[in-house]
């Protein structure tokens, strides 16, 4: 296979990982956004619904971003170097947001309930969930914008203006909106799965409203692209026209599915919508990876590296995807499928048996032959 073909496959893999990150990790950021916006008497219950949706999966979702990064640096090293150099400031901001989002969520869970510290970390979690997708959106806008130049190995870009254009801000707002739509739609579907009408009433109107707002921001971003970023605009209405139109149609279909009460369908549609948007971005700037100097052809690693990266990614997915599927089946499927005896209930029953034994027959307690616990001589 030619290097270009291999490079295109690698770019498709990166696109796949980026889409997975947006669809899954984006929804986790969206959860944080709704956590921040939770108000009134139902706020606690909303936050609990968000936390239980995120808890088991957010760390796995976060790894898609690491994939995007390591696949990029393996297959297109100069792309990673150029983006990291030119966008040093927003990437550092995004990184701080990612650290605080993850750590704060974990810390809040570990503190449990009714603790001031849990509340403080909860606040950190939700604020970081707003900042991070916004900055990531700005970074995407900057990469598409065409102000990062690479001459040989030297990166030439303004460290501030590259990512602070009106278009980049619109991209940031759009990313933020998309995350909130993803989260609200998933939470609506999950409320239906759990038979929780109260949460359904909370998140359904938010999903529709956020969808409308995000669509409006998307339209503004497109107009800004038309005026300020001719390359992006030409791509979106040229090569990527079918994907752009598809994104609009699927967006409308998502709203329709929500209004008609088909929430699980809406969940799939909004994920497809996200994939189409990221796909449209990618196709619009094909064959450029960083407009206007780095292309699939001139930025790719040697063919041997690309080939092995593709083989490893495919083999890795063979292990990864079933594991991921298992994770989502266990935590995202109706609660009726749980086993009768769980690890926790088994351990608790052992403990009760043991307490009974200790109170009734302490004298025949052999040191290690009996189940552990309180030995008579332990009181000393």
């Amino acid at each position: 296979m030619s290097t270009l073909t291999l490079a295109t496959i690698c770019a498709a893999l990166i696109w796949f990982a980026l889409t997975a990150y947006a669809v899954l990790g984006g929804a986790d950021f969206g959860g944080g956004i709704w956590d921040l916006l939770a108000r009134g008497p139902r706020a606690a219950k909303e936050r609990a619904a968000i936390a239980s949706a995120l808890g088991p999966v957010w760390e796995a979702n976060n790894v898609w971003l690491i994939f995007v990064i390591v696949l990029t640096w393996t297959t297109f090293p100069i792309v990673y170097a150029a983006i990291s150099t030119a966008l040093f400031i927003p990437l550092t901001l995004a990184l701080v947001g990612i650290i605080f989002r993850g750590a704060a969520f974990g810390f809040r869970s570990a503190y449990g309930r009714r603790i001031g510290a849990a509340q403080a970390w909860g606040y950190v979690f939700s604020v970081a969930s707003v900042i991070t997708p916004f900055v990531l959106g700005m970074i995407a806008g900057a990469i598409a914008g065409g102000a990062i130049h690479v001459h040989g190995q030297e990166v030439v870009a303004n460290y501030w203006t590259t990512w602070t254009t009106p278009f980049a801000f619109a991209c940031g707002a759009f990313a933020l909106g998309l995350c909130s739509v993803l989260a609200a739609t998933y939470l609506t579907a999950e409320a239906q799965t759990n038979g929780d009408h109260q949460m359904l009433d909370v998140f359904l109107p938010r999903a529709i409203l956020a969808g409308a707002v995000t669509a409006a921001i998307g339209a503004i971003a497109a107009l800004l692209a038309r005026w300020e970023e001719p390359l992006v605009w030409q791509g979106l209405v040229g090569k990527a026209l079918s994907l752009s139109l598809g994104a609009v149609l699927v967006g409308l279909a998502t709203a329709g599915a929500l209004i008609l009460g088909r929430y699980r369908l809406a969940r799939m549609l909004v994920a497809a919508e996200t994939a189409l948007i990221i796909g449209a971005w990618g196709v619009a700037q094909y064959p450029y990876l960083v407009v206007p100097d780095l292309t699939l052809q001139n930025a790719a690693s040697p063919a041997s590296t690309l080939t092995l990266a593709i083989i490893c990614s495919l083999l890795g997915m063979l292990i990864l995807l079933p594991s991921l599927w298992y994770l989502f089946v266990i935590f995202k499927i109706p609660t009726g499928s749980r086993p009768t005896e769980t690890a926790a209930s088994f351990a608790l029953s052992l403990q009760e048996q043991e307490e009974e034994q200790c109170t009734t027959t302490p004298e025949d307690a052999g040191a290690e032959s009996r189940p552990g616990g309180q030995l008579p001589n332990e009181a000393e």
């Binding site: 936050r47 750590a103 309930r113 909860g122 086993p339 048996q353 616990g373 332990e378």
Partner: protein, 448 residues
């Protein structure tokens, strides 16, 4: 502060921080597998209570390990874009594979931590197996990349651009076998001694029961199985360094002049101006024998390379001696423990308070050894970022604000470290019995 100093400090702080959590993330699954396995097989509630406690601590540690690992994946590019632009076509792949391993670890950790109430006892225990495998795999892959920086292989370059790559040869570079195994064993070692220290401390406080004695025994068991093997691997590692990185060995041993029949000089402060080592003892010909198996072998000194290519001799030498000294201690103290265990019988309280105190001290000291070992391999390679291929100063970013980001990240790490310690203490204070899980459904807003 110039970019180079700021970037080096930033990278050093990030790695020193991450390595602690990464090591525990590799080692703790082994203890979980054993403890919960014993609970399941022997129908034993105490082993379950231990596994449950460790799983809560692991949950916190893994979060910090995951976010600090994400930080590193950003920082490689943010701080060293020119290094990554050059090298990642060659060594990107192990990071991608590490990514898969880490992904599996995150998935099965989610299943393990949140699955106590969802999975059958057997399925829940089985989740520890991918955790063990993925933890070991991710450590192995990521260390192959560091090994490549020490002994680069598998590529040709022209004018600072890599033109052909053999990624497999890069992964299996000369340093890979010894360095990966040495690091992997270190992960298990520190986990064992860290856990032992926690329970030794509890026993000193008079909490002498099966729960705490078992926690201690399992930790010491892991540490004492690994420590002697680590001695053998460490020795192999040093001999490898003697052959492939003679300058690093010279810095480790503070050997200023190329010497035939070189003496081993443990301890001591190297004096860079006079080329002498103060406050040391000399064991004649031992270094030649240790490095090459021949008491009269010639060992290359620092004088074989120009002064500007010398590593940081003082730090490398002191870190090396610290690591070796603590490594020996980690072999000896467990022997003391097992002798006491044998003489007193396994069910009775553990021997002397001095033994317990030694075990408490060995917890933090084992981490010191881990950090020291990492300092040896990194500082000993200076001024090269890729040994004999690229200098550190040629890899650094030209971007502004690196000093500011260093301050920012130091602040973040302090906040993360303090919170982690507070949370671990909180987890430690909970009743030791197995409890139904409420912690993962936080309702912090109920306060307000």
């Amino acid at each position: 502060m110039d970019n180079l100093t700021a970037a080096r400090t930033s990278m050093g702080v990030s790695l020193a921080f991450h390595i602690i959590f990464a090591a525990l993330g590799v080692g703790l699954p082994v203890l979980l597998m054993v403890a919960e396995g014993l609970g399941l097989r022997n129908r034993d509630a105490t082993w379950y209570a231990l596994a449950r406690r460790w799983s809560k601590a692991f949950g916190v540690l893994f979060v910090v390990g995951a976010v600090s690992g994400t930080t590193l994946s950003f920082e490689f590019g943010l701080l060293w874009p020119r290094f990554m632009g050059f090298a990642s076509a060659v060594i990107g792949l192990p990071f991608a594979l590490e990514g898969f391993a880490f992904f599996l670890e995150a998935i099965f950790l989610g299943l393990y931590l949140y699955g106590w109430e969802r999975l059958s006892p057997r399925a829940h225990w089985l989740c520890t197996i991918p955790l063990v495998v993925a933890g070991a795999a991710s450590a192995w892959f990521v260390v192959t990349a560091n090994a490549w920086m020490n002994t680069p292989a598998g590529f040709t370059s022209v004018n600072g651009k890599v033109i052909s790559v053999d990624p497999i040869a890069a992964i299996l570079n000369p340093s890979t076998p010894t360095e990966t195994i040495h690091t992997l064993l270190a992960c298990y070692q520190v986990t064992g001694f860290a856990v032992a220290a926690v329970y030794a401390f509890a026993l000193l406080r008079g909490r002498n029961d099966t729960y705490h004695r078992r926690g201690l025994a399992l930790g010491v068991l892991l540490g004492s199985v690994i420590a002697p093997i680590q001695g053998v691997i460490g020795d192999a590692s040093a001999r490898h360094v003697a052959q492939y990185e003679p300058t690093k060995l010279a810095a480790m041993e503070a050997l200023f002049h190329t010497t035939t029949g070189a003496a081993e000089r443990p301890f001591g402060i190297p004096d860079l101006t006079t080329g002498q080592v103060h406050f040391t003892i000399e064991i004649p010909k031992l270094l030649s024998w240790l490095a090459f198996g021949d008491p009269n072998a010639t060992v290359q000194g620092l004088d074989a390379v120009p002064r500007q290519y010398w590593p940081d001799v003082i730090t490398t030498h002191l870190a090396f001696d610290t690591m070796v000294g603590l490594g020996i201690l980690m072999i000896l103290v467990p022997i003391w423990y097992w002798i006491a265990w044998y003489r007193r019988g396994k069910a009775t309280p553990v021997a002397s308070t001095w033994l317990l105190r030694a075990l408490v001290a060995l917890g933090p000291l084992s981490f010191l050894a881990l950090e020291a070992g990492w300092i040896v391999t990194e500082r000993g390679r200076q001024p090269w970022i890729i040994h004999n291929v690229m200098l550190v100063k040629d890899g650094v970013t030209p971007a502004p604000g690196v000093g500011l980001s260093l301050l920012l990240f130091v602040g973040i790490y302090v906040a993360l470290a303090v919170t982690t310690v507070l949370l671990l203490r909180r987890i430690g204070r909970q009743p030791k019995a197995f409890t139904a899980d409420e912690d993962h459904a936080p309702l912090p807003a109920e306060v307000g």
